[in-house]
Symmetry: C2
């Protein structure tokens, strides 16, 4: 079976390298011969050992009956969507690392895949090299998953780790991440939480079988976290992580949120540092399960695509457990549907304390007096409120 790779960037070239260098292992795992057929990229790769594989016209791939699997690593919704759609309609399997595409167009592509009895898989779109998507749709399929909470963005996790370890401010830690290549020059997709938002939308859609649209999820980044927040959290025995969450409520709706959150130091999520990712999955039968590993990078991501290629090669037919309904009816429960405890810093004057007492609830307590004019409080379970100097939910 021949594979076509769409896009010879970081991830695509990793896939090509594994297909060539580990050809025997991949074929053994797939229980059939797997071979690199073609690579779509308009750039010139003349010096490269497999330069004869490059094509610049997608139709050459589409019309090659020997190509059974298309591996898309171009990113963005177009032309990725059109190419994958055409491939599926032609009876070819497709795998992708493209989280934007899966979050936006997953339901549609899965439906096309199902009606043509082929697979559309996307292990590499969330959590890089961590086996995550497949355990969720196979091993944990009937476990009764009630909640997921993930550190799904390596860039922000690196920045927060740096702020905790060295007391750096946000700007300084970001500059450091940019210098090391962990953050892009325009870091907004990462630091404002949009990347993590797309990923939790994918996980929620996959697990609860209905599209959760990324644009509905309240999303807050790490750009407002200060060295003071960090120091205060540390004093109180917490870490701060950018947590992407989704939770199935009793009415079947989904509460989801991306925001910085307090993590108790004894939680397994607290020791997920640097560019590592992790997802905590809560299920009725298994209790808490955590998956941890490198969430990005050339080889981890390429490796995840290879595992999907192997899965496609082995599953002759559409895997029915990888499917979700379109988002015509919203499943999002609303941002005030899940009360939680918040860690707040608020200015310390009499009127605010009186007003605050109502807001923060009976079981709130002062964690630490910051100065004469400011106080920090861990609130009771409350819904979101404005007016506070800084407010970080506690993940329990």
């Amino acid at each position: 079976m021949k594979i076509a790779i769409l896009g010879h960037g970081t991830v695509g070239s990793g896939v090509a390298e594994i297909l060539i260098e580990n050809a025997n292992e991949v074929s053994a795992a797939a229980e059939k011969n797997i071979e690199l057929g073609a690579i779509l990229d308009i750039r010139n790769f003349e010096g490269i050992s497999y330069s004869d594989k490059f094509v610049s016209d997608f139709d050459e791939i589409l019309n090659d009956p020997e190509i059974g699997i298309v591996a898309e690593a171009m990113g963005g919704t177009e032309p990725a969507f059109s190419y994958i759609k055409a491939a599926l309609e032609k009876g070819k399997n497709a795998v992708t690392s493209n989280k934007e595409l899966v979050a936006e167009k997953g339901a549609e592509l899965l439906s096309i895949a199902r009606s043509h009895n082929v697979n559309f898989l996307f292990e590499a779109s969330v959590g890089g090299g961590i086996p995550l998507i497949r355990p969720l749709y196979s091993a944990m399929n009937a476990a009764g998953i009630t909640e997921m909470a993930g550190i799904l963005n390596g860039t922000t996790n690196y920045i927060l780790t740096k702020m905790f370890r060295f007391g750096s401010g946000y700007e300084e830690a970001l500059a450091d991440a940019q210098r090391l290549g962990y953050a892009e020059r325009d870091p907004s997709a990462d630091v404002l939480g949009f990347d993590a938002c797309r990923k939790i939308a994918i996980l929620s859609s996959l697990v609860w079988k209905k599209t959760l649209r990324p644009e509905e999820i309240p999303t807050e980044g790490i750009d407002k976290i200060t060295a003071e927040d960090v120091s205060l959290a540390e004093t109180c025995g917490f870490s701060i992580k950018l947590i992407a969450r989704a939770k199935k409520l009793s009415d079947g709706k989904i509460f989801a949120k991306v925001s910085p959150a307090l993590i108790r130091n004894d939680s397994p999520l607290a020791s997920v540092n640097d560019v590592f990712n992790a997802v905590l999955v809560r299920a009725k039968t298994t209790g808490d399960v955590l998956f941890y590993g490198k969430g990005a990078g050339k080889m981890p991501t390429a490796s995840a695509m290879i595992s999907d290629i192997i899965e496609c090669a082995k599953s002759e037919n559409n895997i029915k457990s990888v499917f979700w309904e379109d988002g015509a009816q919203s499943v999002f429960a609303g941002r005030d549907s899940n009360a939680e405890r918040y860690f707040i810093r608020t200015s310390f004057d009499a009127s605010e304390i009186i007003e605050g007492a109502e807001i923060i609830g009976e079981n709130a307590y002062i964690t630490s007096p910051l100065s004469e004019s400011e106080v920090s409080v861990l609130t009771d379970k409350i819904n979101e409120h404005g007016k506070l100097l800084s407010k970080i939910p506690l993940f329990e």
Copy 2:
């Protein structure tokens, strides 16, 4: 497709409950109707809602053509082995939670399963509810796994956690574990490391495709760890965990070992506390990946068996990546094949220091003077040596 459960103990009754209470979810996940057919147990379960399912003669199950999957939860090698062998030879799939059976007889049963084109799966035998076996034989199949290190026994992890948190001695922490039902009255299989040994033997055999025999693995328990070891490790920034390890050496042989080991506090294994289990998997393409969750208990283990039942129902044919060769030729590399750093406590007299200097190597350093007569040292990478008061390898 009907399921027969062998043994209605803790795990077997959990499987029965899930099959009955979550019948719809299980059938949906399996993409066909799944139904509890029979339960083999000679005891009397008259009051129970599904008491009509009990049989006392295995032949009734063997000769029932509607039963397509046998779920063994009896434990021990016999009669479990004979029953599963007979079922496989009759063309039925088999799943088990029985680590002793898989460690001792895995190669033979897998070979029988293969020649009858049915599946023999054992997700529940290692790591309870953690999806672990399947990711290793599917998603990470071609990732180039080089090493695994696991906290695979909840009882010992509970005891060590207790010793670290409260400064308890070993005996006190064990008594506490027994009181809570985490340790058996005869705790030797857990505390002496035999349980963890069987589990790492299974993981090694599965990943590197050759039987690693449990009896070849040097196995040391936690019964000699003292409150002093704990306090000293803590002072130096380490935790102590019972670590079961396996590593593929450059000559293709496997180094394996079960022993208490030092874990740096910033390692993801360090925050695996109480009865939780975790396995760190190192692979060429993905880097470090960690799987974490409840390693035992009725529902987590039953849930893992259910995931195997679903897998069997979906895979009509033998899954070829679940297979390993018999242990006719040993793959064990020998206990001195892997030099590592040790944390030692040794008595502080002149003759030992001179002798010690040769043993502990150039890059050793004194971590802390304990008293006038004792000193603790982190050695260079060395092979095992005797004569030291207490000696714990560092897992890096």
